[in-house]
Structures are given as C-alpha cells and as structure tokens.
Symmetry: C2
Subunit: 158 residues, 2 copies
Amino acid sequence: EKLIIDGITLDESQAMVTLVGLSDIPGLAAQTFDELAEAGIVVDMIVQSIGRDNRADISLTIKREDLKKTLQVAEELARGLNCPPPTHNSQVAKLSVFGTGIKSYSGVASRMFKALSAAEINLDLIGTSEVRVNVVVDGKQGAKALEVLKQEFADALV
Amino acid sequence: EKLIIDGITLDESQAMVTLVGLSDIPGLAAQTFDELAEAGIVVDMIVQSIGRDNRADISLTIKREDLKKTLQVAEELARGLNCPPPTHNSQVAKLSVFGTGIKSYSGVASRMFKALSAAEINLDLIGTSEVRVNVVVDGKQGAKALEVLKQEFADALV
Ligand SMILES: C[C@@H](O)[C@H](N)C(=O)O
Ligand SMILES: C[C@@H](O)[C@H](N)C(=O)O
C-alpha cells in the first residue's frame, strides 16, 4: 500500500516552556492550565509523558510573544507547588507531517525520525494524533528539518 | 464565543509502554520506531516531553494484543542502549475531546483537566494536536472519565 500524506508544515513562531517535577496526582495539570487560560494564554502543543518517582513534566508550546507572560505564570506555579523552576526555549521549530493516509500506515513516524536523525537533528518533543505527527526541534534547525522531510516524503505528497 | 466540539471518545483497547532514560541525542527515536515498525507494530500515540540531564522518556500506546511483542522490542533496545528497563501498563484508557472548534478556544484543555481532576482521575499522558486533546488514564477509570467529560462538555456537543 502506498502512503499518501496531505502536507508537511514548519511553524517557527513558537516558544516552549516545561513545568518540571509536578506531583503526579490529580489536579496539578488542571491548576496549571486553569492559570494559563485565566492569563489569556493560548497554548498550542501540550505534551506530558508518564511520570517517574511520582513526578511528571509538562511541556507546552505558545506563541513567542506570550513567552514572558507564560513564564511568569509557570514560575509562580512552581514556587507555590515547591517545584524546580520551569525551563524554556525561546525559539523552537514545530514540524508536522499530516494526512488521513497516516492512519493506516505505521511507518510514518519511523521514516520521519530516521530522516531527521540522519541530518543530526535532535527531537525535543514528540506528539502524535491519528492523522498527524508533530515534532519540536531547536529553532535554528527548522528550515533544514523542513527540507529533509520534504525530500523524505516527496513520493507521498499528493 | 461558544465552544463547539465534534465528539468525545473512549478507547479501552490499548496498552502503554514507556522507554525510559534514552540518551537525548539524534537517532534514538529513529532506532526505536524503526525496530517497532520492523516488528509490524502499529503505534497509536507517541509522546515525548523535553529531556532532563540529557535523558528523555518516550511513551507510546499500542493495541493490547501487541503488548508482549512491543515489550520484547523495547527490552532488547533498552539492553542494547544501556537504559533502565521499559515500564508498561497493560490496560489504559484513552480519552479524546475533538473538533475544529477547539482551534480557536483556549480553555478546552483546562476544562477537560479540571473535570477529570475533580473526579480524582490522574492524567498519565497528555498529547494534543490542533483539533484534539488526548489524555491517557488508568484503564479502571475509563468509563468514569468518559461520563465526567460528557457532562462537562454537554453544552458544547453539537
Ligand atoms: C502531572 C499531572 O498531569 C497529574 N498527573 C495530573 O493529573 O494533574
Ligand atoms: C530522545 C530522542 O527523541 C532523541 N532526542 C532523538 O532525537 O532521537
């Protein structure tokens, strides 16, 4: 079966903030996003993998112009919850490969990761949904990553 | 503006495996998913948040019948890469709130997390895309989580 994808995009308008070492108990994510929503911050990607030693990190991406406000909210939360200070990267690049063809094809993520790794590009965040694989890399490698993925999936682009 | 969502789903057919402490250098994700694709394993969610101390965890969900095969691949990888053994949960519940209305409404995640936390349900994994918020909770709480979300978003369901 031939893979068909709808597109590949690069978004260089975002920054990333990570809340580090949140207690892995009900309510911490709710409090975090409640305070961000109250501050009027629109969050794009939210990524949390499984906690370790009862602590979990939540990474999120926002528009770069919201970075200062987001850090203020995150730092206040961390102080109140006795967590380490949040970390951030003020310039990230989000690459997306998307299309309904991804649903029935298990090799898209593997091809995407392989192509980026061959170009020595490190994956900072990964998030997938049924029809989309999103990765975040350092902002300086966005254009190169897009080029690499366009070549890798040239045969699959409609 | 009124939020409109297309639906809320519960998927109780999956298990979760986490590769722990992968070196945060290019190539590790590629190797992991290459070996999973070679073993014919179709991965649903892939979630990796930012690494710490140059190590990152990658959580993934698969069909429960693929758990044994996936753990074999993951354990072999961990041995070869000198990582701690992978962890898993053989019965997880994936809850999704989705719809194009989510794009322009920043409070969906916050409402979702708040409703689940009020019901004492812990979030194990979080992954979002432009039009969908996915969370993974323990398999025993799937039905309750679905109920809670249907109530929370009753006014937004078309
Ligand atoms: C870490 C955070 O997501 C926590 N597990 C919660 O449910 O809120
Ligand atoms: C941890 C893993 O994702 C690594 N950063 C890589 O690029 O492969």
